[in-house]
């Protein structure tokens, strides 16, 4: 809402020395938030004066243009009283016209300094201004010609053009619809400065009678009040007075024609949306009803609209002629030939307005006010004000008929304990202050013997319905700056939850492993699934789709964090990184496909069973962790070669996380997109799969612009965390000497290290302290299709030094079991 300060001051007797900044600050403190203060003349320094064109000689130029060499009477403004010689390129004026002249020494918007300068063979001492040059509009068709009575040559043009006018733009919250009018803003200003308020709606209006245009309300819930007045003999060519056009412009609307400008002006003044009809195009009585489903209406924006049974329509005998309170129809629109005007000022049900606006995607200044709630007592006053302006500036005559149908809805009586404001705000607000402040915002307050208050809010405050609404009114007048600052003493909490602590630990472990965390948008589409090489029936392609995605390319909530990470990795490499290790933890979603979530009432708590239905309807939303390793994992340097990331780094990270959480991660070979089919591991905790890790498929690297052999991990953190050890048992270890034995076992290629390891462990028995693979050999000595695995075994007993016999017996048992299970043959 843009409010010119002079307009505010028309309705409230503010002290003259209140600056615009101070006014804006006080109103902000009351809840009308300052957005900006506009001062159109701030970018101009004078002299800027009224001039009368005395002579103009057209002089054609070589470049094809014709300029006018003018002499202009600027009074004494130039210090000499002599006519000012000015070259002007525009042609839309003639001698005798009043214009706006800017003289040498002045500065126009854009820091444009004016000086006398030689041009087209003359010394041009200043400029005749257009609205654009003055920063007043975009009209560059010609210079600004003032009305004949605008002033005398030499008069200062700042006030004349409203250039000293300051406009405050407020952000109005949805509950303060009354402040979408000068009436409302001025009322708040009166409250802020305790200054007298003059209600622009307070006027004598003629009593309703039977000779007015016939209006029938068939849906009083949708349209409780409808006022209609008519003006005949209106001159459609009459111009909008400058002051009125300027105020409409300052308030952010565009002047169009006198009749439209007046309806807008009154809406800005009072907050009551007005609709004007060409009365001669109306057929029969006006009726307000709900539309029938499928009915058509062409609104005045030219759109043919199919109406819903919930839409409120204004009709005449021809059918719908307007979408009530939202937008008029094309057939009865006022035009440049309209001389007979019917004024509609009606009160509409806000919910219907909101739904109709949303359904037809219509936003308008009228709709904005109607859907937030307008003072229902206004229609008769607003219509009368429009009639006054139409007859004053458009030469029309007010016809004697005065139509006023319906009753404003009754106002609530709100019971509120007089100490509630103090109890809610913590401010020392006594009963007298509460009553005074409620009365200040227009409530009628009664106090009963027990000190209970009953407040009836004023008609312009439909937002006040609950005791707590009244508390806010009392509190904002006392001032939010008076709220004391007291730290509450919380009940003792139990600290972070297990999962919250584990997530922090996982993040720190990954950062410690050299991985950098990223956050990507969780939206995905088929292109990414295709790039991952997922089969058509892959579960990851079964997504939660969005009805209104940001991009039709990515219409779903994601089921995998990998594409986002791959893109971030490629971006980093593209920006010159030689290697990246990135990770992300984030929610992914899988459809539950269990039907809609119920919508419950809000007057009581839904039962636990009902709440369970809400959760059941939600997608399954596990927390995933993904890692990508691309390019250099270790840098080359003076220490030697660098090392590229590979499949083992990816699996290593999973193992590292497992170690961090006390989980013995089982690794099995697997085949799954987007991984390399021979270099992909399934990872399990206590036999439960929680994800995959390994080298990416070459096609995936190519599709995402990643270097060959990039590796990745994606795991379900919820599953992993479920298996985390909560209390680590204190380890026991022996301090007796260790006995070391190395064995080399030849197995066929298909046998995994894990299998051999498992057999060795079991075979070696309790004396085995640790076992570690330290070499893998393939080559002639072991034969084709075979490999030699070299393990270092360490034996130790808790209570004694092992004898050589004990150690070799354990080793032999280990080798024997490996041989039995995997066909391993010991190399000697």
């Amino acid at each position: 809402m843009k409010a010119p300060v002079s307009w505010i001051r028309e309705y409230v007797d503010l002290p003259a020395d209140v600056s615009t900044e101070a006014l804006a600050a006080e109103l902000t403190a009351l809840g009308l938030k300052l957005e900006a203060i506009e001062k159109p003349g701030d970018a101009i320094t004078g002299p800027l004066v009224v001039g009368r064109v005395l002579t103009m000689e057209a002089e054609p130029q070589k470049n094809g243009k014709t300029i006018n060499w003018c002499t202009v009477d600027v009074g004494d403004a130039n210090g000499t009283g002599e006519p000012q010689g000015i070259v002007c390129g525009a042609h839309n004026f003639r001698p005798g016209d009043l214009v706006v002249c800017v003289l040498p020494g002045a500065v126009l918007p854009g820091n444009f300094e004016i000086a006398a300068r030689k041009t087209y063979g003359h010394v041009s001492a200043g400029m005749i201004c257009s609205t654009r040059e003055l920063g007043l509009g975009d009209d560059h068709d010609g210079i600004l010609v003032l009305p004949a009575d605008a002033g005398a040559p030499g008069d200062d043009a700042f006030d004349l053009l409203g250039l000293r006018e300051e406009v405050i733009e407020f952000e109005i919250n949805p509950d303060r619809a009354y402040a979408l009018s000068l009436r409302g803003v001025a009322r708040e200003a009166a409250l802020a400065f305790d200054a007298p308020f003059h209600d622009p709606a307070s006027r004598d209006v003629p009593a309703p009678n039977d000779v007015g245009y016939q209006v029938v309300i068939e849906d009083p819930a949708g349209c409780p009040v409808f006022a209609a007045r008519t003006v005949s003999g209106f001159d459609p060519a009459a111009p909008t007075p400058d002051w009125l056009a300027r105020r409409v412009t300052q308030a952010g609307m565009r002047p169009i024609s006198l009749a439209v400008d007046i309806t807008n002006y009154v809406m800005l003044e009072l907050g009551q949306p007005i609709h004007g009809y060409d009365a001669d195009r109306l057929t029969g009585p006006i009726r307000v009803r709900r539309a029938t489903e499928g009915e058509h209406l062409t609104t005045l924006d030219g759109h043919d609209r199919v109406l819903s049974a919930e839409d409120l329509v204004v009709t005449d005998d021809t059918g719908p002629i307007g979408l009530g309170g939202v937008m008029g129809g094309a057939t009865t629109e006022m035009s440049e030939t309209t001389t007979h005007v019917l004024i509609e000022a009606a009160h509409w049900d806000p919910v219907s307005m909101f739904r109709t606006g949303k359904r037809h995607k219509l936003t308008s200044e009228a709709g904005k006010r109607n859907e937030r709630g307008v003072d229902p007592t206004l229609p008769a006053y607003a219509a009368d004000r429009v009639v006054e302006l139409l007859t004053t500036y458009g030469g029309g005559t007010s016809e004697p008929g005065v139509t006023l149908v319906g009753e404003p809805p009754s106002r609530p009586m709100i019971r509120i304990a007089s100490d509630l404001p103090a109890r809610v705000t913590g401010m020392p607000i006594d009963a007298a202050t509460a009553v005074a402040n409620l009365e200040a915002v227009g409530c009628v307050v009664e106090t009963d013997a027990a000190g209970q208050l009953t407040a009836t809010p004023p008609p312009w405050r439909p937002d006040l319905t609950d005791p707590y609404d009244l508390v806010e009114e009392v509190a904002r007048i006392v001032g939010y700056d008076q709220v004391p600052s007291i730290l509450p003493t919380a009940a003792s909490g139990r600290g972070l939850t297990r999962e919250q602590r584990l997530r922090r630990r996982i993040g720190r472990a990954l950062a410690g492993a050299g991985c950098v965390e990223v956050i990507s948008f969780p939206f995905i589409g088929d292109a990414a699934f295709d790039a991952l090489g997922l089969p058509a029936d892959d579960l990851l392609r079964h997504t939660v789709r969005l009805a209104n995605p940001l991009s039709s390319e990515e219409p779903s909530y994601t089921t995998t964090l990998l594409p986002g990470l791959f893109k971030a990795a490629a971006r980093n490499l593209g920006r010159g990184a030689t290697g990246v290790a990135l990770f992300e933890t984030g929610t992914v979603a899988f459809p539950a496909d269990r039907g809609p979530a119920p919508i419950y009432g809000v007057d009581w708590r839904p039962s636990s069973a009902e709440l369970a239905k809400l959760d059941a309807a939600l997608p399954i939303q596990p927390l995933f962790l993904a890692v990508v390793l691309a390019g250099e994992r270790e840098r080359a340097g003076w220490w030697g070669q660098g090392r590229e990331a590979g499949w083992s780094d990816a699996i290593g990270i999973v193992r590292r996380l497992g170690a961090e959480l006390g989980i013995d991660v089982e690794v099995r070979s697997a085949s799954r997109s987007p991984w390399h089919p021979g270099r992909c591991a399934q990872v399990l905790a206590d036999g439960h799969e929680f994800g995959h890790a390994g080298e990416l498929h070459p096609n995936v690297c190519k599709a995402f612009g990643l270097p060959a052999r990039s590796a990745a991990v994606e795991i379900d953190l919820d599953v992993l965390m479920r298996h985390a050890v909560d209390v680590t048992p204190g380890p026991e270890f022996s301090t007796y000497p260790v006995a070391k034995e190395d064995v080399a076992l030849v197995v066929d290629d298909a046998t995994t290290v894990a299998e051999v390891e498992q057999a060795l462990r079991e075979g070696a028995g309790e004396l085995l302290e640790s076992l570690r693979l330290f070499d893998v050999y393939t080559g002639e000595q072991v034969g084709r299709g075979h490999k030699s695995l070299a393990f270092a075994l360490r034996f130790r007993a808790p209570d004694r030094t092992l004898t050589e016999q004990e150690t070799s017996a354990a080793r032999d048992a280990a080798v024997a079991l490996a041989a039995a299970r995997t066909g391993a043959v010991q190399r000697v």
């Binding site: 809840g31 720190r508 990507s520």
Partner: protein
Amino acid sequence: MSGPNTDYDPVEVTPLKSEEVEAARDAALAAIAGATDLEALKAVRIDHTGDRSPLALANREIGALPPQARKEAGQRIGQARGAVNQALAARQALLEREHEERMLVEETVDVTLPTDRVPAGARHPITTGSEMIADIFVAMGWEVAEGPVIEAEWLNFDALNLGPDHPARTMQDTFWTDPTENHVVLRTHTSPVQARTMLTREPPIYVVCPGRVFRTDEYDATHSPVFHQVEGLVVDEGITMAHLKGTLDHFASSMFGEGITTRFRPSYFPFTEPSAEVDLTCFVCRGAGRTDDGSSCRTCRGEGWIEWGGCGVVNPRVLTACGVDSERYSGFAFGMGIDRTLMFRHGIDDLRAFFEGDIRFTTAFGSDIS
């Protein structure tokens, strides 16, 4: 260099003569003094104290002497051998020390060589920032509540006093899942977590809810369709706006330092009544509105305050919908953007820096925020 006394024939010596013993001792001492490295000293040790050395041989002769001569000879030889051993030990220690010092000099490296063999990792500032915020509240005895990001419409809107026709629903452009008749949305705020908390717990409730939220905003330097919020909720007996103010003042000074405080302005949120916007003392100019050189502060546009978030007293309608006895309990709630909070705490101009994944941005924050 002194070598072993090769022209010495021990057989011909009469080792027990005192001159001979002294000569052998002196020869040994001279050889020890002349050994310039540990290698040479080792040879000297063998020649002059080994089994075949003159003093060792003389020592062996002692037994053959008549008893009365034994004592004297034994004393003489013992003294000589003692002097030689002492000199050897001293020389050994000296040479070892010299050797060690030389080795250390030779092993000198250029310690300014780079050491970044494995690049450093980092956690995202939004993660660590959220944790920092959570910790401020956990330290006061609050708990951290969480909920699903894809949420039931009833919990995201209705339960929070945002009915189907509430104009505020148009203030937040919502991502709806398909079909919209399923009434499931990407949560537009973390407030449904507050509703869930009230629905599942008995007061007293002191929780803070950081999390990811979604709005269909254009993606630019100050807006993102995906961003992060932290909300707080207290429901207890006798809770007032003063407790809200106290909590936010404490939050502000914990997050931004002593002297940073908050200011309330009346506002509107369906969830709360009365409602307020929270402004924060500008962290850059510390409320002055001007920087040290006198120019207007860019961060707060000269106002000395920055818009931080919204707050208010929990609307009793919300308490009722969530099954809390609004006669007995009252509460307050607040919410602010984590991304935005971090932007002005760290002087980040463009919100998109958080979501681009450039490691140069993230690694600057390390594994915990400061």
